[in-house]
Amino acid sequence: MKARSSYGLIAEFEDPTALVSATHRAYQAGYRRMDAYSPFPIEELAEALGSHHSKLPLIVLIGGLCGGIGGYALQFWAATMAYPLNVGGKPLHSWPAFIPITFECTILVAALSAVFGMLALNGLPMPYHPVFNVARFALASRNRFFLCIESTDPRFDPDDTRKFLNALGPREVTSVAD
């Protein structure tokens, strides 16, 4: 297997603790372009990978504000400017009556931002990914834990990295075809 056709090396672990500690060690060893895979969210794993922060809340906040302001503006414009009509003696700008829709619009756009923001930040959909080339990776959605160091990492070396990974006590280390 030639290095340039390789996506990286992947190590399989049996339990979350092993994975977290292996990831931690890899991070400390200076690897950055790597990813850990687990069948359920492990909070410590993100920390071990050195990612602490998510931009998602900000996206959702902006989305919510846009939804709310947009919803109110639509109602205000429609009721007072587009076609002002006397509805049951109520003022044209009946702001209390406009609140429910403003609220719903806020929630709607915020929720859409949350989901699509999450997908976008994660680069999904991505039905094809090199890690799927590893046969045992199917277990990543069952009961196995994987750490993959990608070949694009500056410190990546097929042999050294393999050794390094083997030293972390995995069940197996496999090369990931690109």
Partner: protein, 216 residues
């Protein structure tokens, strides 16, 4: 595990998600355009008529006043379609043998009316009154266009509600002096904004946008 999807699936997936958004938006936009297009409104589409009657010939050519035929336009909601008798006033003398006019003569002989195809057909729930518009300085050509240049009649405007509302909200943009209402060669003056404001005041033109103004 082997790959289920080809490498290209990633691109296809993203493109199709984005594409769907634009597709739907485009479709809605298209629908909105179709709704305003002549295909729906029939605006500027000349209608087939039982007789090839030319407004161009009669108005521009012979200089007939609108009211010669549309007699009730000043008094009635309905402008009036001329009875066959009106045609025969002249055509018993001129072109009295023209084969084109045979249907007219037939109608007159047999007392059977001519069934014209309606060009300006508002929905039945809209009540339009010609007389008040004409009396308030809305010219014939404002809505009907340059009929003196229509060999076969067509509907100039969309006749959609937003079109009605435009004038009902901003009459000053369209009104003209009463004496010019029936002039087909009338061109709004450069100072229409000022003139319009003055006419609106003089003619007590109200901006009627209540629903019952048109719908009863």
């Amino acid at each position: 595990m082997s790959q289920i999807f080809h490498r290209s699936a990633n691109t296809i997936a993203r493109v199709s998600i984005f594409g769907a958004v634009f597709f739907v938006a485009g479709l809605l936009g298209l629908l909105a355009q179709i709704n305003r297009s002549p295909w729906v409104t029939q605006a500027r589409v000349a209608r087939e008529q039982p007789i090839q009657f030319s407004h161009e010939r009669h108005v521009a050519g012979n200089g007939l006043d609108c009211r010669y035929c549309h007699t009730s336009v000043e008094d009635s909601p309905f402008a009036g379609i001329p009875p066959t008798k009106t045609c025969m006033n002249c055509h018993s003398q001129i072109f009295s043998a023209s084969p084109y006019l045979e249907p007219v003569r037939l109608s007159f002989r047999t007392d059977r009316p001519i069934a014209w195809t309606r060009v300006h057909d508002l929905p039945d729930f809209v009540y339009f009154n010609h007389s008040i518009h004409v009396n308030k300085g809305v010219g014939c050509t404002t809505c009907h266009g340059q009929v003196d240049r229509m060999p076969l009649m067509w509907q100039e405007q969309s006749l959609q509600m937003e079109w009605c509302l435009d004038c009902h909200r901003n009459p000053e943009r369209y009104v003209r002096p009463r004496e010019a209402v029936f002039r087909v060669d009338y061109v709004p003056p450069a100072n229409q904004a000022e003139l319009g404001r003055r006419l609106v005041a003089d003619y007590h033109i109200q901006k009627l946008t209540s629903c019952s103004t048109c719908h009863r």
